[in-house]
Symmetry: C2
DNA sequence: TATTGACCTTATAGTAGCTTTATAGTTTTA
DNA sequence: TAAAACTATAAAGCTACTATAAGGTCAATA
């Protein structure tokens, strides 16, 4: 399988595949005489694993870490710890965004569309700076 | 006021101020004979405005856009539209993260710490790929 | 007076996770 | 045979800074 076919199979761009190889997330495949990369089904699985992790919001570094835990007879404590960390990270992101939304909505409520910029409640609200940092 | 004082006043690094100037978000200040930048109170207000926008999660491009709306006698429709856009962006981020959290929690529930990697429910869950994309 | 330290200057590289562009060689199709 | 479609590498671009390097300026101290 060449890089374009693999890319289409998994739904990524060919450059992304080369990028993952360069970052050490995908093992370097064999090459044809012309230098073209040749992929096996294993590469496909590896690539799909990476993409699913990315969809779960894991960083490339975290994925790398997960890969290092793949030894079958290790306890999977570390895998679970990584996931727990990630979950709490996502939760704090949600909390922060909810606070932000509240702030934005109240800012937006301070103006209607019929005013001129001079009297714009939004710009005034930002400029006054009665904001809780973080 | 020199750059260091302005930085301390607003609570940013001096490099950040030079960066904003370079990006066209802060007007280039006058210089002393030795080349040092000299800032006025107006620059302080401008910088504080930028920082508050950043805390609200606006991108530098959005801030630039906001600045272009500062003409006092324009209607502030555009300002409100920008904010509305930003609010809906934040809301969709929240929704996405909540869905992600649910997925991560259910993935995490599929394994306990006493297993070996071979039987790890988390790794299996990712590899099976029964995931809703996005 | 020499020098130390705190400040200022510019230019450049690094961060994350790709995407885009440039340039060139290879294979497939019309 | 020539164009289209694919492959290769290398380097730059994206965001919003942060960090580093190498050097100029200034006030205070030894």
């Amino acid at each position: 399988m060449r890089i374009g076919q693999l890319a289409q199979l998994v739904g990524v761009e060919t450059q992304t595949i080369r990028f993952y190889e360069q970052q050490g997330l995908l093992p370097p495949p064999d090459r044809q005489d012309n230098g073209y990369r040749v992929y096996t089904e294993k590469h496909g699985e590896g690539l799909a694993f990476i993409r699913r992790c990315r969809i779960l919001g894991l960083s490339l570094a975290e994925i790398h870490e997960l890969q290092s835990y793949q030894d079958p007879h290790q306890p999977c404590t570390a895998v679970n710890a990584l996931l727990d960390d990630h979950i709490s990270h996502v939760r704090s992101q949600i909390t922060a965004l909810q606070a932000l939304e509240k702030q934005l909505v109240s800012l937006r409520a301070s103006c209607n569309d019929d005013r001129e910029v001079e009297a714009c409640g939004v710009l005034a609200g930002i400029s006054e700076g009665n904001m809780h940092q973080q």
